[in-house]
Amino acid sequence: MTAVAEPASSPAGEFGRSRARKEDAHLITGRSRWTGNLTLPGMLHMAVLRSPLAHARITGIDVSEAKSMPGVVAVYTGADLAEEQGDLPSAWPITPDMKKPPAPALAVDTVNFAGDAVAVVLARSDYEAHDALEGIDVDYEDLPVVLDLESAAAEGSELVHPDLGTNVSATWKLDSGEAGSGGDVEQAIAEAESSPDGIVVRRTLRQQRLVPAFMEPRAVVVDPNAQQATMWSSTQIPHILKLMLAMTLGIPEHKLRVIAPDVGGGFGGKLQVTPEEVLTLLTARRLGKPVKYAESRSESMQAAHHGRAQLQKLTLAAKRDGTVTGMKVELLADMGAYMRLLSPGIPVLGAFMFNGIYKIPAYHFSCSPVFTSKVPTDAYRGAGRPEATFGIERMMSELAAELGIDPLEIREKNWITHEEFPFNTVSGLTYDTGNYEAATARARELFGYDALRREQAERRERKDPVQLGIGVSTFTEMCGLAPSRVLGSLDYGAGGWEHAQVRMLPTGKVEVVTGISPHGQGHVTGFSQVVADRLGVPFDDVEIIHGDTQSAPKGLDTYGSRSLTVGGVAVAHAVATVIAKARPIAAHMMECAEDDLEFTEGRFQVRGTEKAVGITDVALAVFAAHDMPEGVEPSLDSDVTYDPENFSFPHGTHLCAVEVDTETGRVELRSYVAVDDVGRVVNPMLVEGQVHGGLAQGIAQALFEEAVYDESGTLLSGSFAEYLIPTAADLPSFTTDRTETPATSNTLGVKGVGEAGTIASTPAVVNAVLDAVRQFGVRDIDMPCTPMRVWKAIQEGAR
């Protein structure tokens, strides 16, 4: 880190100000630039033929008819591209002996999931390209299909990749006894089991498969003819994409430029190097013409990576007074048919979060990524942390229920109190700050906890067909991915730093370059506020440049709630560097000592006098460079690469009330209170937006969404008619509030908010559903808690 620390100044009062987004005007008036709308002269269109079968050997492909169809320029199969397509990158070998199958962009001998790409057509129009798909004849020979996660992991299962000899790719372990961060969990469990005042709670929880369902389906355009081959892609990660394409395809890195224009959402689903990007690039280079690929929604559901998909075997040991003594986690994680960019690392991220906000003395985590004949899984909003939070928050509520203790009380008994920070957790992290008491007290009050408990008792008493359930989730998450040394210790293939440049222009305007890559969040607005605040220039005078490896040459992009906590902090440091560079020049201009200068509201003022110059005056003087102090270069630009020292740890308390119609099993959300602590807030409206959207997505996992395959491996939930995403009509009006405990691990005190709502809400809702129906003997319901599942659980429980 090269930045010089300048005292924080907040003259313009930008922090905490709900500014309307700079991004909105062009987005809502349709002046946006989506990749799918790009047209280049002579551009060809690519259509992809996908396997209808989940697992089969390709015994023959006849493309002759397709080749002769109108407008068709070329048809390629896996055999045609076998030499140059390389292997799709998988950047996270979680163990040295991890087993990983080859992952060609176009299947060569076998297809491994329904939707696997088999051939591509390049034609003059999109219509002709799609028509020609019907002219391709593929002969398949069926191979055994492996669908169920648990049986896939079992001895003797049919194999997805027979060459690997197993479906279990690796086993990754973290044990607090061995690591020295805590005790021995087996001992804790044995003690709890043998002691009269001990209790052991065991549950096997299921995390269903989810579709990231970003609003803009994936699209990519490649122009191979510019000085650098240029790729426009609807991606979250232009920088990583460029590097990975260079490394896997052997294209010199400096001959490649990647642009992420306006991107309509990602949720981790566009944190990927996709087969389609590779194929667009390869075919464009082969044909010497620009090529576009734009997927349909049904292709997206079938072939873009899915998320979650875990089986969690959980054991919680405790004393009967509610004190937790140990937590054991055994995970199976469904990888699908291949490993994509981060696939096996996603469940491993959860290893650090299964202990949640609690002081758990002994902990063991093991995780086995398992192959199945389904589309690969990878990052989806929260990536490993929602799964873990679900596990611990469900288990804490189960423990409370088993012991007949209030679920908030049992949490209070076990959580880290605000005096105990910084706190070293049993999984090896150091939580810098937090105040769970404050967030919980506020949530409890807003929710009307006691009144709802009374109503719940009354409804039970009178056997109301509509029962009330109250769900609790007191979560934390690790944000700001990530300190590079931590990623290194986890065998991840890259670091977690971020880059920023600040350029003062002669007229006093400011160009800011960032390596993060927004795709709907509002970073341009938030970052402008950070710069305006620190530099004392007007908000509108700041331009944020991003998402193009030519103009924003360095960066690690947007995911893991890292944009403000790492990228924004890098920008703040770059601003500080500019101010530090301007200081000797300002002193020279006013003929005073540097130490006599105070920088506030964009001006260097000589202490105790009215004498001052603005940073914009300095910028003009630097441009002219007529009279610079000795040895000072005429530049007010800075270039900072910031590597965070720690993660940040937003937390919060979410309370949810549901009404369960016991006659139909239907769950209706009655009220939802979210009190989040995301540290210092730059723009409350942006935070609010992230929380609302996050809640909707997390609630969707609890109640609505699931990617379902039939017994032949065909995706049944292949459109939004079957894959139910909720709309505003399905959700209550959320009550949101915040407590503010600034992070101490970064200079802005910020913690990250992009994933909080999603992480917290799923267990809150499921806990509420169970709280309503536990009286009938129900102890778990698989997600999504559909009416049929809830109704059947009640029938079986009541039996």
Binding site: H130, D131, A721, L724, T727, A729, M788
Partner: protein, 284 residues
């Protein structure tokens, strides 16, 4: 997805439309509001060579009072039905069911005739048409014919319409003075029915004088719940009558199995929803 190429014609009279259909042979498809056909074309589940648009034929649109019946043009949109006082007055059940369809955008495009002709077993208008004893007017190369709703729906996505025929209008006997309710059960506001119940009753002096009850998605076609109707008629309009009658809701049905519901759960829902639908309709 992108549909295969097709020709498009938009005749301005019904006769021209019938002729265009006959000329095109088996390979034509009619488009009304396009809300069901467009996805079918885009997913290439059907690739007609000609698409005949009924949208330019004014005679197919609107609701007309025809003495003891309403005549609803096949091309009348869901939105127009909802805003037509005649429908509320004489065929309330249809208005109630229409209000549960999708969202305003779709209701502005989708049509009454299109819904019936498409014959999706989860479609919300089929049961109401059946319950109220609607009659379809169908035009073909050999002139017109009338088909009762009970004969019109033959199977999943299958009606008695022949490939060269057009549904012209739907004659709904007036049910003035009846009260009605459509009880729809789905998982999100804009989702299709898992099961739904269409109920219309005429309550006279505290007793149920007449009742019509039909079920959505309890078989490949809409089903009249005749057992329920029998158990209601002539009895006091009260909770006990309704509860007992609703027990018979799943009689004679053959519910499908899918991810949302198995046959058991559907049958159970049919009973619960019938009870709720009749209770609401009868104002008990």
């Amino acid at each position: 997805m992108i549909p295969s190429a097709f020709d498009y014609v938009a005749p301005e009279t019904l006769d021209d439309a019938v002729r265009a259909l006959a000329d095109a042979g088996d390979d034509a498809k009619i488009i009304a509001g396009g809300q069901s056909l467009t996805p079918v074309l885009r997913l290439r589940m059907n690739d007609p060579s000609v698409v005949i648009d009924l949208g330019r034929i004014p005679a197919l649109r609107g609701v007309r009072d025809d003495g003891d019946a309403l005549v609803i043009g096949a091309m009348t949109t869901h939105h127009d039905i909802l805003h037509e006082p005649l429908v509320r007055e004489h065929a309330l059940l249809i208005a109630e069911a229409t209000a549960t369809i999708a969202d305003p955008q779709i209701r502005h495009r989708g049509t009454f005739g299109g819904s019936l002709a498409h014959a999706d077993p989860a479609g919300d208008l089929l049961a109401s048409a059946l319950a109220l004893g609607a009659e379809m007017t169908i035009a073909g190369p050999n002139g017109r014919r009338q088909v009762a709703a009970a004969e019109f729906f033959e199977d999943l996505f299958t009606t008695s319409l022949q490939p060269d025929e057009i549904l012209v209008d739907i004659r709904v006997p007036k049910h003035s003075g009846w009260t009605a309710h459509y009880e729809k059960f789905n998982r999100t506001a804009q989702a299709w029915s898992i099961v739904a119940v269409a109920a219309a009753v005429r309550v006279d002096g505290g007793a149920i004088a007449e009742a019509r009850v039909a079920l959505t998605n309890m078989a490949s076609v809409p089903v009249r719940a005749r057992g329920v109707e029998e158990a209601l008629v002539g009895r006091a309009a009260d909770a006990a009558t309704i509860r007992d009658a609703a027990e018979r809701a799943a009689e004679g049905t053959s519910p499908a199995v899918d991810g949302n519901a198995d046959a058991d759960f559907r049958s159970h829902l049919a009973r619960v929803l019938t009870s709720r639908a009749v209770t609401a309709a009868a104002g008990v």
